[in-house]
């Protein structure tokens, strides 16, 4: 990696000042050090944000819970209350990477992590996402790539937390130039849909402060299918969350990861499920709606039936049947 300057920030305003336009925030460093080692980013200054006060806490509220951006994935995994209140979040955290990574990986860094496309990650390949003029994946090794995209890059969002946060209708609070912006997960990734260069909607200097999760859905699940039994990225991940009242779904949300450059969610399917009594036929219908318009490439067609199965399993597990 290239040499860089280093600073530790003790307040959000000094963090912003120190990072300037050409610096990068350093949280757990799992993603950033990988990018630095491959010369994919060369920030002038690394600003360690782990000493920012108040951002490493999980706080219970009456209407919503707050998870600070510096909370580690292990903190979520080890929190017995989270396991009860947001079981899907607990399941997602438990499956992320390895113990060593979960111990340092932060919520903010997990949401802001960059593309894992193997062409993108190769230091000598200059693809569309690096301002080159070709997407190497589209007509080549694309087995891990997207079924949906809003631009010509087909690298999917892989953050497991983004998938479950989408199903839980969580809000990310972003500090931009001293103002707090409140973004849905869809807004956090909107730019990755519309712009090939973007991994998310964050601009230089934007700082994720925390995530708020409403207590509106007492049931939630997260499932992922991977090639390896453990310590592997999801080929497809699926999260679902809802309340069940008198046997009927209330405010259901289904979200998928690793099949689109944003957490994949279809509003019409959520509406379709609302008020329904879940059974396999309903779950199958919902899955078809969610996957409608999928554009499989040469090697990632398997993701369609895989996603369909995960959606059905997630919904039935939500109901308590699986």
């Amino acid at each position: 990696m290239k040499a860089f300057q280093y600073a530790t920030a003790h307040s959000t305003s000094s963090a912003r000042e120190l990072v300037g336009e050409k610096g990068a925030y350093l949280a757990g460093g799992n993603d950033l050090l990988g990018l630095l080692k491959e010369y994919l980013v060369s920030p002038e200054t690394l600003v360690n944000i782990k000493s920012l006060p108040g951002l490493n806490k999980i706080e219970r509220g009456e209407k919503f819970w707050t998870i600070g951006a510096l909370v580690t994935v292990a903190q979520i995994e080890n929190n017995a209350e989270i396991k009860k209140v947001f079981p899907g979040l607990h399941e997602a955290a438990t499956e992320i990477a390895s113990q060593q990574i979960r111990n340092v990986a932060t919520v903010g860094g997990n949401l802001a992590q960059h593309s894992r496309c193997w062409y993108f990650r190769h230091r000598d390949v200059k693809c569309l996402k690096k301002n080159g003029d070709l997407c190497y994946a589209r007509n080549s090794e694309n087995r891990y790539h997207s079924l949906f995209t809003g631009n010509d890059c087909i690298s999917p969002v892989v953050s497991s937390l983004a998938t479950i946060f989408t199903a839980l209708d969580a809000t990310a609070i972003i500090l931009r130039d001293g103002n707090e912006l409140r973004w849905s997960m869809a807004e956090l990734y909107a730019d990755a849909w519309s712009q090939r260069l973007a991994h998310n909607s964050l601009q230089p200097g934007d700082l994720i402060l925390r995530v708020e999760i409403p207590l509106a859905r007492s049931r939630s699940v997260f499932l992922q299918a991977s090639e390896k039994h453990a310590f592997d990225w999801a080929l497809v991940s699926c999260a679902a969350a809802a309340e069940i009242e008198n046997g009927k779904l209330k405010s259901p949300r289904v979200a998928l990861g690793s099949i689109s450059n944003v957490p994949h969610q279809v509003a019409a399917a959520n509406e379709f499920l609302n008020g329904k009594v879940l059974d396999d036929a309903i779950a199958t219908q919902a899955a078809a709606m969610i996957l409608q318009g999928a554009k499989p490439l040469e090697f990632n067609g398997y993701k369609v039936p895989l996603a369909e199965t995960l959606i059905r399993r997630a919904l039935l597990k939500l109901k308590g049947d699986a």
């Binding site: 003790h10 113990q99 310590f231």
Partner: protein, 216 residues
């Protein structure tokens, strides 16, 4: 006395510094002398340092190690190439193999994916720090007894992961051991013996030596 402490030049520069940044810490002005000193320390810490080598003090296996390192040097590099502590191994240098696992305040982490400069102030334990009074710890002994290695390259990493697990979970199940060790890979394929060793160290050994530990 409390409130009339004269503003020392240090406190002043702290204030000017913060002013230039915008909002925070108007409270510092009325703070006690002690607090001002602590604030000052913070202010210094907020300075940009590097890219050239800077003094870095690491606390490894209970000893202070003073080094001169560029901010880009990883903890693994600092241990192996600047401190002659070669117990933690470099396999992938990309957070995927676990050979470099060390304890960071009792939690296992990959030393290859952490900057040495940010490890300051934390207690680092490497495999060299496990033996006490010349005696190997119970995980190390169990590895020998259960023949849990072939080439040995992955061993320090596994030993650190299992040692960390047994510190918070005295009697783990086989599944819990597997979950804790999922981030360690053994290229020689010793995983079944490693699992046996972990269970042996935890005192929850399987009854029969020939019992097959199945992988789900």
């Amino acid at each position: 006395m409390k409130n009339s402490a004269p503003e020392n030049p240090g406190a002043h520069s702290r204030r000017t510094f913060l002013k230039s940044l915008g909002t925070v810490a108007a409270t510092a002005a009325t703070a006690q002398v002690k607090t001002v000193a602590a604030e000052l320390e913070k202010a210094n810490a907020e300075k940009i340092i590097g890219p050239d080598a800077v003094p870095v003090t690491l606390n490894v296996n209970g000893e202070k190690i003073k080094l001169l390192l560029e901010p880009r040097v990883t903890l693994l590099d600092a241990l192996r190439n600047y401190s002659s502590l070669t117990g933690a191994k470099e396999g992938c240098d990309r957070a995927t193999c676990g050979a470099c696992t060390v304890l960071f305040d009792d939690a296992p982490i990959y030393a290859c994916q952490k900057l040495a400069i940010e490890a300051q102030g934390h207690a680092i334990t490497t495999v060299e720090g496990l033996a006490k009074d010349g005696k190997l710890n119970k995980v190390q002994l169990a590895f020998i007894e259960k023949d849990a290695l072939q080439c040995g390259y992955c061993t320090p990493g596994f030993v650190m992961s299992i040692t960390a697990l047994l510190k918070k979970n005295f009697h783990p199940t086989a599944d819990e051991v597997k979950h804790a060790c999922a981030g360690n890979l053994c290229r020689c394929g010793c995983h079944p013996h490693i699992l046996q060793a972990a269970l042996k160290a935890a005192g929850v050994e399987h009854a029969s030596k020939t019992e097959v530990v199945t992988y789900a």
